[in-house]
């Protein structure tokens, strides 16, 4: 009787789908050089990049300070960020310099530096090109286990019926949104691996890394053969598929990265995506901030996008007295919109939580924030007017020294929001001459916040 190696329900022992399982826990400690700016072996501490986004804008008069410079006053909607003001810059006066379907045009320009393509039908827009975080990931993350991490707190994704441009904060290109994962346990499983008990057996694991690679070789060849028979649009879809396979292969190679002393695999969250009706926004923001911080600390990735809520998919925050979604309220609440304002304050408090979480991660002689460049924004200036001016934007972190912090900077000439994108790209060390197209094309960053 042959000995059978495959046991039911123990399929993933040693299968090591997650990166940490592949390299073994805990990861190597990073040894630092004398002034904490690099590892002991001279490799520099990598800079991380992120985007934090929320939908439907702010109340302009209660968000933007009036005094540019380092002594900006804490406004009602920035109040939650007071404790971390030294880590951020607030940016005012920047505009989306093209009209179009509002919300759609803002999000397209802030993601890709250009307008959308409209395929007709019900608000059926898509981006025209990949979003700029893809370029950043290419620059920063060629060697990390994952090129980027895309997470979110609240999304009901499917039900709005509008185009792909509205679904995601990041796109590989037209027809390829990088959806924000809102299930904390799914994020954990993808990053840190499916944890199963490893039984005491000397049986070979199924599947083994070696055989997984053999199978992927076969799949690659088949995909390439199929690709040759396709039109360009489908070739692009196969290219995405091949790219995803390359990611799996990269992780199978199991080269441990130096990681960071603060890296530790978090406990696996039990939570799936938040309940659509009664989402626990605070808990889910915290869980995602934790997972993101650890993914960066462990150098599993150096790029993340964090979609707090959209404008077509956003919750009814009953705890704040809302009787409609944030977006609805921006269009129905009268007066100076006190509930909208309360939601804006709440949203900023959630951003503050992420900033604090990053602050708690020691990297080098400082914190993860010192080595991060995060861009925070919404796709409209104000919800009720859909203003394309005064888009609320912030930068967070010092980017390893490339970014100043603690400032309120205001553009007085309605400069394009894309200057901020360009600033982030330069801050993480990209040698990029320009960003954006047409009215959004810029060649200079926001000098006031760069060192």
């Amino acid at each position: 009787m042959k000995r059978h190696t495959l046991h039911r329900r123990t399929l993933l022992q040693g299968a090591a789908y997650g990166m940490l399982a592949a390299v073994g826990l805990p990861p190597l400690e990073a040894m630092l050089n004398g002034n904490g700016t690099a590892h002991a072996d001279g490799t520099p501490i990598p800079v991380r990049f992120g985007i934090w986004y929320w939908g439907s804008g702010v109340r302009r008069e209660r968000f933007f300070p009036s005094t540019p410079g380092p002594n900006w006053e804490i406004t009602p909607e920035l109040a939650p960020l007071e404790g971390v003001r030294s880590e951020i810059n607030v940016l005012g006066g920047f505009s989306v310099r093209e009209g179009g379907i509002v919300h759609h045009i803002g999000t397209a320009v802030l993601k890709t530096g250009r307008g959308y393509i409209d395929h007709g039908g019900f608000f059926n827009t898509d981006v025209r090109a990949h979003s700029f975080d893809i370029d950043v990931a290419r620059h920063l993350g060629a060697d990390t286990a994952f090129p980027a991490l895309h997470v979110g707190v609240y999304s009901d994704g499917q039900f709005n019926g509008e185009g792909l441009n509205t679904r995601a904060l990041s796109h590989n290109g037209p027809g390829s949104p990088n959806l924000a994962e809102t299930s904390p346990r799914a994020v954990f499983d993808r990053l840190f691996g499916v944890q199963t008990d490893v039984p005491s057996t000397d049986a070979a694991p199924f599947p083994s890394a070696e055989h997984r690679r053999s199978v992927l070789d076969i799949v690659n060849e088949q995909a390439r053969a199929l690709r040759a028979r396709l039109g360009t649009a489908d070739q692009a879809r196969i290219d995405e598929h091949l790219e995803a396979i390359r990611g799996i292969e990269r992780r199978l190679e199991a080269n441990p990265s130096t990681g960071n002393a603060a890296c530790q695999s978090p406990a696996r969250p039990t939570q799936g995506a938040p309940d659509l009706r009664r989402p626990d926004m605070v808990l889910h923001n915290e869980l995602m901030a934790d997972l993101t911080a650890m993914a960066l600390a462990c150098d599993l990735t150096r790029v993340f996008t964090f979609r707090h809520h959209g404008w077509t998919d956003d919750p009814v925050l009953e705890d704040l007295g809302a009787n409609a979604t944030h977006h609805t309220l921006t269009h129905t609440e009268g007066g100076n919109q006190p509930t909208v304002h309360a939601i804006n304050v709440f949203t900023m408090s959630q951003l503050a939580k992420l900033i604090e979480r990053f602050q708690s991660v020691s990297v080098g002689g400082g914190t993860l924030l010192d080595h991060s460049a995060i861009m925070a924004y919404s796709e409209v200036g104000e919800g009720w007017s859909h203003s394309l001016d005064d888009i609320p934007m912030m930068t967070i972190g010092r980017a390893g020294g490339a970014l100043r912090t603690g400032l309120y900077h205001r553009s007085t000439t309605r400069e394009s929001v894309t200057k901020v994108n360009l600033t982030m790209m330069r801050a993480v060390g990209m040698d990029v001459e320009a960003f954006g197209e047409g009215p959004h094309r810029v060649t200079d960053p926001v000098g006031a916040i760069m060192t």
Partner: protein, 571 residues
């Protein structure tokens, strides 16, 4: 990783740049619009109404469709999550694990089937496909699993001929076409090289490899030149079988269908019709065809209804479930169970209630939430049809208030297939506050839509059907008044007047645009593409009307139409 671009990009300028003249302004719940909105694209040259002028198709930004071509382009289609699960159930007899195992599908223009021809599999999804392939293969080939049933023999070694026979038959089912000799060589070689400690392990790897193949994960619809000399490509027999199976059963073609494809039986209408009838009679057909209506009629919105507790303390998850159950059961009855005129969905008074729902409707009913009984709503009552379902009304409202725009937009856009452009970007979109201390009806609050010149063009088309439903609050409960004020539920569509939900339902049940809209949208769903607004489908609409407007007959008309097996050159 030198020489590799992280995301090898095709040129993004491959689509023509269309003027974005039509859609300017915010995507709003309550908004304002261009002047001159006549219910169809303004410069289409056609008036409102008329089956061909309507459509859920492309606007000025339309792209790959060439002229009037009625079909998608040759290429790949993704498997939806439910298609993937059903396929693996049929191939291996095992269930794909987990609830958040996969990222959700990405519908485009209201249908997952259109998204399937345009959207890429995401990286997390590709990763999960690999993992699930091993999870399922491991389960099937484990000791005590159903491996012998599946393989059909007990291989004596890793080169036992029965292995290659199994691989050929399994790959044929998985790829939905015969595997090539080269493919079989590859998989047989894989079995031999991974057969440690035995052939079962090797077979598990081979099955997992097959389930990761692009020939499995994508439905290939490349077609072949038309032997009759037509300018477009014709799907091969296997490709047609695949399209038929997924459309009608939501899963992969079975052996009998593959055999029919192989023998050429699907090349003529009779052979195709025989297989179609066989599939339509299968239990899976009812579920699969419901997907069309679920997406077209926004039925799935019932799963995300949010109500403010102070305003609606009776709104519990149990009530939400009851609302969903009622809607799905009635639609299922009319569409697939005892197929009837689809348009009767808007006027019928036969429905089902349990305790809570009966109370909500104010009709006699069971005590318990667990008991469901059929009822007929009163003939002179306010409610009839889909527009009277609590599930529809509650899901097309706000959390505390009704939404004239959501309800009106549904009628105009989803039932009449009329396009409503986006509002302009520079209007103030907050409705005026009611006078201090005074309550006004929702009609009065949205009056501004209909008097402001930049709003009224489109809101005159869109708001009246929504206002007709104002006798139902945000939960779908009937109310005589709106905060003590009389409700005016009158309106008109194309000059035909109605007063209230029941009359509106009766109007829609007899409106030619509604049947044309169903026909056109199912056609798009089946083809996996939006149709150009100049693309005529009058033949299909006529066939649908003549057959009594039953969904299975619409399926027959679409499947047997030549367009079902044509594709244009790859884009």
């Amino acid at each position: 990783m030198q020489g590799r671009s992280l995301f090898g990009r095709r040129r993004s300028s491959r689509r023509p740049h269309w003027r974005q003249s039509r859609f300017v302004g915010p995507a709003l719940l309550i908004g304002a619009t261009l002047a001159g909105c006549t219910g169809v694209i303004a410069d289409s040259g056609t008036g409102s109404g008329g089956p061909d002028a309507s459509g859920g198709g492309e606007g000025g930004g339309g792209e790959e469709l060439s002229g009037d071509f009625r079909g998608s382009s040759a290429g790949l289609r993704l498997l939806s999550v439910s298609e993937y699960r059903a396929t693996l159930r049929d191939l291996l007899g095992v269930e794909v694990p987990g609830t958040d195992t996969f990222q959700a599908d990405t519908p485009v223009q209201g249908f997952t089937a259109i998204g399937a021809t345009r959207v890429a599999y995401s990286a997390p999804k590709v990763e999960r496909f690999e993992q699930v392939a091993y999870e399922l293969a491991g389960e099937v080939f484990a000791e005590g699993g159903r491996r012998q049933d599946l393989v059909g023999c007990e291989p004596s070694s890793s080169t036992d001929p029965c292995i290659r026979e199994f691989l050929a038959s399994f790959a044929r089912r998985a790829f939905r076409r015969p595997a090539t000799a080269a493919e079989l060589d590859t998989y047989a070689g894989l079995v031999a090289s991974t057969a440690d400690p035995d052939a079962w392990t090797g077979l598990a790897y081979a099955v997992a490899a097959i389930l990761q193949s692009p020939s499995f994960l994508y439905r290939v619809e490349l077609g072949e030149p038309d032997a009759a000399g037509g300018e477009h490509l014709r799907l091969t027999g296997f490709e047609l079988a695949t399209r038929l199976a997924y459309l009608v059963t939501g899963s992969t073609p079975d052996d009998e269908l593959l055999d029919a494809a192989e023998s050429g039986a699907l090349d003529d209408e009779q052979g195709l019709s025989e297989q179609l009838e066989r599939l339509l009679a299968s239990p899976a057909a009812q579920t699969a065809l419901m997907t069309f209506l679920e997406e077209q009629l926004d039925l799935h919105h019932v799963h995300k209804i949010v109500k403010v507790p102070e305003a609606f303390p009776d709104f519990t998850p149990a009530l939400a479930e009851a609302m969903a159950h009622e809607m799905y059961e009635v639609v299922r009855d009319v569409a697939v169970r005892e197929p009837d005129d689809l348009l009767s969905l808007f006027s019928r008074r036969d429905t089902y209630v349990n305790g809570p729902l009966a109370a909500l409707y104010g009709v006699p009913g069971p005590e318990s939430a667990n008991d469901w009984i059929p009822v007929t709503l009163p003939e002179d009552g306010p409610r009839a049809g889909l527009l009277g379902f609590a599930g529809f009304l509650a899901s097309h409202s706000g959390a505390a208030e009704t939404s004239v725009t959501k309800r009106g937009f549904f009628v105009v856009s989803k039932l009449l297939c009329r396009e409503i452009p986006a509002p302009p970007g520079d209007v103030i979109t907050v409705l005026p506050e009611p006078p201090a201390g005074g309550h006004v009806t929702m009609r009065e609050r949205v009056e501004q839509h209909m008097s402001d010149p930049s709003c009224k063009g489109c809101h005159l088309a869109m708001d009246p059907p929504g206002l007709a439903l104002e006798h139902f609050d945000a939960l779908g409960v009937y109310r005589e008044t709106d905060g003590g004020l009389a409700i005016d539920a009158t309106g008109e569509i194309d000059g035909e007047a109605f007063d209230g939900a029941r009359e509106l339902g009766e109007l829609l049940a007899a409106h030619p645009d509604v049947s044309a809209c169903f026909a056109r949208r199912f056609h798009e769903y089946a083809l996996g593409t939006a149709l150009g607004k100049k693309t005529s489908v009058t033949d299909l609409v006529g066939a649908f009307e003549d057959s009594g407007r039953r969904l299975p007959d619409l399926v027959r008309a679409v499947v047997l139409h030549d367009s079902f097996r044509l594709v244009s050159a790859p884009r």
